[in-house]
Symmetry: C2
Amino acid sequence: MPDLFAALPDAVSVYEVSPRDGLQNEPGIVPLEGKKRIIRALAAAGLKRIEATSFVSPKWVPQLADAGDLLAQLPPPDGVTFSALVPNEKGLERARESTLPEIAVFLSSSETHNRLNTNKSVDASLDLFAGIVPQAREMGIRVRAYVSTVWGCPYEGPIAIDKSVGIARRLVEMGCYQVALSDTIGVGTPKQTKEIVQAALGELAVEQIALHLHDTRGTALANVLVGLELGVRNFDASIGGLGGCPYAPGASGNLATEDLVFLLEGMGLQTGIDLDKLIEAGAIAEQVVGRILPGKVHQAGAFRLRKAP
Amino acid sequence: MPDLFAALPDAVSVYEVSPRDGLQNEPGIVPLEGKKRIIRALAAAGLKRIEATSFVSPKWVPQLADAGDLLAQLPPPDGVTFSALVPNEKGLERARESTLPEIAVFLSSSETHNRLNTNKSVDASLDLFAGIVPQAREMGIRVRAYVSTVWGCPYEGPIAIDKSVGIARRLVEMGCYQVALSDTIGVGTPKQTKEIVQAALGELAVEQIALHLHDTRGTALANVLVGLELGVRNFDASIGGLGGCPYAPGASGNLATEDLVFLLEGMGLQTGIDLDKLIEAGAIAEQVVGRILPGKVHQAGAFRLRKAP
């Protein structure tokens, strides 16, 4: 019998993506005040790392065109780090103007997905980042990276693990402090997750690995569990599961932060996050976007004792 | 590093509860023809063990008042075993009249929950089953048992694992071939699941243990994974997640059979179930009950390759 949980860390860091990854996928544009309400509620719940917005061109992501204004109007609370997505040098310049301490770069390990998403080959994306990442570090800006479609691509199907892990290694070599291996379409199952994380552990230090899992097919927390068992302590999540496709009722994308924290708390792992306040933040996010969010704990609530009737 | 999946069995048996556990919780009464459509579709997908109905009094569960007619009109396809819930001697007599090969008895390990659900103390329920189970076996009827609220009770909170496991052992001693340890309100997390399954393994053979998990807080498949790692190969599930509270949009109860099979397939485990046909069965169930079912794979579909546009 395997010794489950023997390798569990005591503390887990949750990286909150909802203000960027969630809101950029909303059909409507959330007003700046609504974004500030969500981010303040997330910070109040104890989240310390929040991807607040994106410097992708407003032509492509009009939902986050107010990135500069948001960061100017909302100084991060004490102890909270804001980050923003940066696609190119122009984005890096905007991040510097906003005195952001951290940015995130992104590409897909699937050639087709990367071309459709960024109009570049994987090599061209890596060449671009080989220019940007060292520049950012000279500016004193930390860089995180996303590698998308690691568990599978909607166009190419399975992606060779070596390819994804090789990309992750190159990103770390450029100076990225952490790479979020991403199950972009939510197809991951635990055996595959074990193979991916073990391969990544062959090339990266465990603290350089984050898992960005989607719960599209209900497997996100099972994959989190595999990551935990292998020592990973960095996980991405989105309040209420914000970022699912809003056109399919109940269909979800991002792992909900409340669900992740519910699991982590139940395993005795420390997150520094108050689940009750997190659930309040989810209620605020739902109010702001004006649609029912798919997160499970968001909908069911945390377990609370009740008196017998 | 623990040797994950070292103990994985090659084959897993899925026990389908939707026609009973799902339909008894629907606000409306599904017509007999609709029930037959669902059950035929489940069998066509490869499910071999189906809890088809209940002999609980129609006063309490009017949704399944047609149990006798259903079983009379729908002979089980070759290789498929139907079961039905039996609360008392009268239910056993009805099961015998229907020439059922298998029944299921049930109680909660929480005194409060058991009293509210069955109007009996836990000991009184066990005394009742001590009479029924040997009778059933003399009739050539196999008996399965449910122990509810093992992961927690909405009224009493946590339930001592020893109490639940002691009840399970008594049920096996009476002659039940398998006990479904049930996370009735869907609050289980992996550490707790490990403790429960390990305690059960101290008293029961692994094939006598089934896990009946709810996905109310997104943790069902993580808990399945723990069970798999500890050698459990029997899991309950409900097509589309049928059986969630229909009044809370998207809130789910039973683990969806499609989600379970998606995970098991991805781990290379054999179920004998065709996932595509299972998804068709979920579409039929949704049509029959007339509301959107919460299962994730049901809503998102299985992963299928697409051509690049």
